[in-house]
Structure formats: C-alpha cells, structure tokens
C-alpha cells in the first residue's frame, strides 16, 4: 500500500506521463472499435502529423515557461512566411536546399528579433506584441505571395515523407531534437535561467541572471522553431500555403499545457509535448473512426482535454 502511494507520488512528479496514458487509452479505444485493423497506420499517421506540432510546441514551451503573460502568437504567420520564402528561394531545385533552409531560418531570426523588440523597446505585453507582429508577418507573406504555387524540391518532399518500417524518418529526427531540447532545458545555463525567470523574474535578476538576454534568446528560439516547422511542412504538404500554419496557434499552446508544463511559468518538460501532440491527433482520429459528426467531435475534444488537464494538472497550491 505504501509502495503504491509512493509510486503514485512519483507519477505526480512526472506530469508528462498523463499525456502518454491518454494517448494509449485513445489508441486502444480506436483499434478495439475497428477490431484491431489499422492500429499501425494510426500510429504512423500520428507520428507524421504530431512531428510538426512538436516542433512549434518546443519553442512555445520555452516562451510560456519564462512566466505569466509570455506566449508567442506569431507562430502561424511565421510558418506561412518562412515556408513561402523557402519555396521561392529553392524554386524546386535540389541544389538550393541548404540555401532555402538558411532563408527560412533567416525569416525566423528576423521574426524573433522583431517580436522581442516590440516587447522590450516598446514595452508591449507579449500577447499583444506577437499578435500584432503576426499580422505584419502574414501581410509580408501575402505580398511576397510568389512562393505559394511552387513545388518543393524533390529531395525535401522525399525526406519529409520518408518512412522506414512504418516510422516516419522526420519523426525520428525530431525525437532527437526534442531530446536535445530536454537537455537544454534541464542541464544548461540557458534552460535553468528560463526556469528561474519563470518563477520569479526579480529574484532571477538578483541572482545574477541576465533576464533580458534570456528572454531575447527565448523569443528567437521560438521563432526559429516555427520557421523550421514552416520549411518542413511546406516540403511535407507539397508547397507552402498562407493558411498552413493556422492550426498551430492553439495546438502549440495546447500540447505544452497538456504535456504538463505550467502556464504560470517556471516548470516545463519536453517529453510531454510529444505525448500531448500524439494524444491530440489520435483523439481526432478516434472520433472520426467512431463516425462522430463535426459538432460532437469538437465537444468531445474539448471535454477530453479538460479531463486530461484536470487529472494531470493536480498541482497542489503551495502554502
């Protein structure tokens, strides 16, 4: 009994476990409905699509972890712009792949610097700053528009859709990136500083942390991740489109929160983002399999997310 409560306590300290449990339950429900058919395909599809959510989710996680009020709403616009720019620069040529990649990273860097300067120099709250930035970025993408009808280089589209034994290679690649980011969060000066700032910005400053440099790095990191997502997504879906980033606005925030990162800042984890992204995708797949109508699907998605967060987010208030 006591070992049971001890292991339960251990579980509580690993908030990401719940998103994986949720994913497992949803997957089992789906394949029991289909009588075991298509279980593997669901996983393959979930890995393919969750990959993109994870990329932007990691960036968003770092931003949210720097404390209340910090959020990056410019992610969708950034995805659209960097995808479009990369497609245009590459013009479908394999040789231009690296140049295109550099171009989309350049877009991300510019967006990150722009976001941060709005926040820092003009002292606009991050939620407003990144939202208004996103209008400007999207307008730029529209004006630039020429990248939109261009096919990605064959090499890129092959790489983003390549599978080995049903496992998308891109997903494996992003699992490595997530692992690295997890180490960055927990074991580097930068990650520790982010966690400290999220708990108490003033105490972090007085403990000798360069608060503004870290916040700058965080908004740039988030923008770079969004740009990476835009680049890969354009390759994956056969070209860039203006609205291809749309669903990632809420998804990037949802996976962070469902994954067990505290919205109040100072507490974060990377594994949960993967679990949450897979969970979200499988949830929609399950409801589709059940033949639920669009209305029911939305209601169920909402309810199940609330349920998972209630169970997982059992943070007792301190004192």
């Amino acid at each position: 009994m006591s070992s049971m409560t001890a292991s339960l306590k251990n579980l509580r300290e690993k908030p990401w476990i719940w998103s994986y449990l949720g994913m497992l339950v949803v997957w089992l429900a789906t394949i029991s409905f289909t009588g075991g058919k298509g279980g593997g395909d669901v996983i393959t599809a979930a890995l393919s699509f969750a990959t993109f959510t994870v990329i932007v989710g990691i960036g968003q996680m770092f931003v949210i972890t720097t404390g209340p009020g910090n959020v990056d709403l410019s992610i969708p616009a950034n995805i659209a712009l960097s995808g479009a720019v990369a497609m245009k620069v590459m013009g479908g040529e394999n040789e231009m792949l690296l140049v295109g990649f550099a171009a989309s990273m350049g877009c991300g860097l510019a967006v990150g610097i722009f976001n941060y300067s709005l926040i820092r120099v003009l002292r606009i709250p991050p939620i407003i700053a990144t939202l208004s930035a996103s209008f400007l970025i999207l307008s730029t993408a529209i004006a630039y528009g020429r990248g939109l009808k261009i096919k990605p280089p064959l090499l890129l589209s092959d790489f983003t859709t390549l599978q080995i034994a049903g496992i998308p290679v891109l997903a494996l690649f992003i699992i490595v990136v997530a692992t690295v980011m997890s180490v960055v969060l927990n074991r580097t000066l930068y990650g520790r500083s982010v966690l400290a700032i999220g708990q108490n910005m003033r105490a972090a400053w007085l403990a000798g942390i360069n608060v503004e440099r870290i916040r700058f790095a965080t908004y740039v990191l988030s923008a770079l991740m969004a740009a990476l997502c835009g680049f890969l997504l354009a390759g994956f879906s056969g070209g860039a489109s203006l609205n291809m980033g749309e669903e990632y606005l809420l998804a990037s925030i949802a996976v962070v929160v469902i994954g067990g990162t505290s919205v109040a800042g100072g507490k974060a984890n990377v594994p949960g983002i993967w679990g949450a992204a897979l969970f979200m995708f499988m949830l929609v797949t399950m409801l589709n399999t059940f033949g639920a109508s669009a209305g029911i699907r939305l209601i169920m998605t909402g309810l199940i997310i609330v349920a998972v967060i209630t169970i997982a987010g059992g943070d007792k208030p301190e004192r």
Partner: protein, 489 residues
Amino acid sequence: MTTTQIVNFEAVAKSFGAVRALVDVDMQVVAGECLGLVGHNGAGKSTLMNVLAGTLSADTGVIGIHGQNLTRHYNVAVAHDHGIRCVFQELSLCPNLTVAENARIFHASLKGFGWKKRAGKMIIDKLDEIFPQHGIQADDVVGDLTIGRRQMVEISRAFTVSDEPLHLVILDEPTSSLDVVAARQLLSFVRKVVSEGQSCILISHMLAEILDYSDRILVMKDGEVVEEKLAQEYDRDSLVAAMGNVVESEAIEAHEENIKIRGKTPLVVKAVPRTQTGGIEFCAHKGEIVGLAGLASNGQKRMLLQVFSAADRHLNDTRVEGPVALVAGDRQTDGIFHLWSIGQNVGVRSLKNMVKGWLIGRDQEDAMASKWQAKIKIKTPDMNNNILSLSGGNQQKALFARALGSDAEIVLMDDPMRGVDVGTKLEVYDQIRKEAEEGRTFLWYTTEMDELFNCDHVYVFRNGQIVSELSRSELTEEKILQSSFKESA
C-alpha cells in the same frame, strides 16, 4: 486579574512525512498575558502557531479554546470566531490591493456605501495608535510598500476590531523587518494591550525583546517544549542555555578588536545615492564590512540595488570593481525560487562555475548543496526537498549560502537576518568576518543595532541621503539614532 484560560493545548503532535515537527506539545495561554516563544530555526514554533491559527491541523492531541474542546472541527474560521488572530512571518497581505481593502478582508461587517472609507479609517487609526508617524496612506497599494511598512500594516490589521471578538494575537517574528524605533513602538503597544486583558504570543529571535516584554517564556527544541518559566526567572544566558545553544553569547564582543585601518586596501565600491546631490560619498574598500544604518526604508536598499545594477556596466555615479551577489531579506519577492529544491536555490548563483562543456555538472551542484548544508546548518533531511519545506529562518540560510558560495567579491546584504536564530547569526557573523579578512567586501544593510557592531565602517541614511559616517571606533547606538532623526535645517 482573573485568569481566564484562552488556549489549552494538550499533547499536540504534527508530522510532515518523516519529520516530527511537533511532539506532544502542551501550551496554555490565559487572558492578559504575553507568552514568549523561543527556539532555533525549525524548532517548531511556526508550526505550533499555524496549528493554533487553524492553518494546519494537528495529527493528535487536544485543542481547547475558551474551555471548549474544539479538536475535531478546528480551522481558520473557528479560530477567527474565537478571537484568535495571527501575524505570520510570511506576510499575508494581498499585494495588489490597497491598505484599506486589505483591512476590509478581515471584517465582513464593513459593507454598504462608503466601506472603503471606513476600512481605511479603521486601519489608519490603528496604525497611528501603534506606529505614530508611519507614513502610510489608506489608498497605498500594498505591493508598493517596503517590507517594513507591509509588516506594520499586517500587524495593525490584526489588532483592528469591528464586530468580531479579539482575544489573542500571535506575533511571529513581528520585529524582524522593523527598525529599532518601530519595534519599540510595537512592543510597548503589546504591553498596553496585555494590560487591558487581551493576550499575545510573541515569537522572536531577539532574546532581549522576549525577556523584556513577555510574562512567561516557552522554550522549544526539535518540536518539543523543553522548558517553561516566568520571564523574570530567565536572563539572557540561561535562556540561551535552555535553547541548547553551543555558541557563547560573548562571541559578539570578541569582534570588537577587529578594527582595521580604512583605506589601506583598494577601493571597490564608490557611489553617491541618486536621491542626493553632493555630500558624503559611499565608499567600500576591499575586505571591509560596511554597514548601512538608519531607520528602515530610508534609501539603504535603493543604495544596494544601485550598486548591484552597476556591477556589470559602467555608470557615472557608481563604480563597482568585481562580481557582486545579493542576499535578499525580502525573500518571497527577491530571493526564493519556490518550485525548486533547496540545493537548486543554493546553487543558482554559481551555475556558471559548474558548467562542464555545455552542461551543468550534477555532482558539482550536489556537492555545493551538501557543503553548505553542513557549513551553515540548514535543517532538512534532504537538500533535494522543496525550498518551502524549510522554516523561514532556514530559507534565509539557503539564501546566505547562495551568495557566500558564489564567486562574488562584493556581497550585498539586504537586512538578511530576518527570522534567523541567535546561534546561526553568530556563526554567520563569524563567517562574514573570516571572509572579509580573506578579501571579500560586504555591504550590510541592517535594522538591528547589534549587527552594526560587526561593521568596520557605517553610513547612516535618512530620506535617501547619507547623513553621517562613523568608523567602528566612533560607533555608538546614540550616534546612530541621533543622525537617523536629525532634522535637516
């Protein structure tokens, strides 16, 4: 005077996991007395008071209030209904509300048109009564007040009366953030209240306060009451002995021979307060302990922050040579990372030196944690526990360890001994002395007169200006009080 019993605790016990915070504690409080409560950090004083205030429930034991056995359904509301109020060490005011609004939270009967005015009058009247010339307005937002003023508001609020009864006020380290004058005002007010038939429980690490102002003293150690006598039966030495203190109380005097000749070592800090034009310059030389004296919140902390922010860049009015670390006094706002372990809180200032390649070395972090746990005696079974599992004084020790364990050559201390017990204080004083001899510089803002006698040189602040400077040999309590109050012509 009749001796009506207000509180009767019998064999009250409380454990947190494996830690036995209270072991069969008996405690009685009668009407019209001031009960002093002393003991080391982590002795269980605050836990006992939390049980009495209803914020923690006892595991076993009997809780009797006004002769009724209330053990089964005791909580904050019941305590409040029975006239028991508590001023906690961790201040409990809402920082985003005004002083008047905070007063209203306590008094549900203040409603209808003009409640804000009445609440404001109520709290300001009480402030005037306890702390004349407090300088607080009813519509001040609490978060903008200094920690000393917040404490004044918190204390005064506990003594305000509307239609609920008031029998007992618990004062947990009430003077830790107050300067000498305000502390005296409070303590004489306590005596007045007690003579009118109400009761107080007074917790303080300043033994003189306990000896002079309480009627009866309860000594706690490791969760138990080890001794209970009338206050006049104790003197400082016997009280220290009862607490089980290993450090001799004469240790303070021993420092007095440490008088250095100022200016023999290079200058490391030179600054003029921003609120001052001309006048006395603030200077600190390598290896000096420089005191910032005067009444609370007269610009001392601003001076420290000015030095702190000048450490990594060049400013015209402030010159600082060498890395700086700060020991926070207002630990909730300036110090603690509440989601982290004790070890992480200690290590955060020194992470740069723990990096190997790209990563923070776990071994170095653990080593620093256990080194400082032993060195400064942080009372915990495991440095990996959350920082909030520590008592207030022990949290403060962790903040000390953070600064002393860092690479800083200049350590700024913002009245850092709030809630730290006598034994630890003396050990930390020794540590500071030793490190100063090895070349570290300390800038020490303190509201405690005794602590100034550890300094080599003292600057007295009033209204954001330096009004006088005293070397160690010139330093007397009278001189400091005189310049703290001196009216500018």
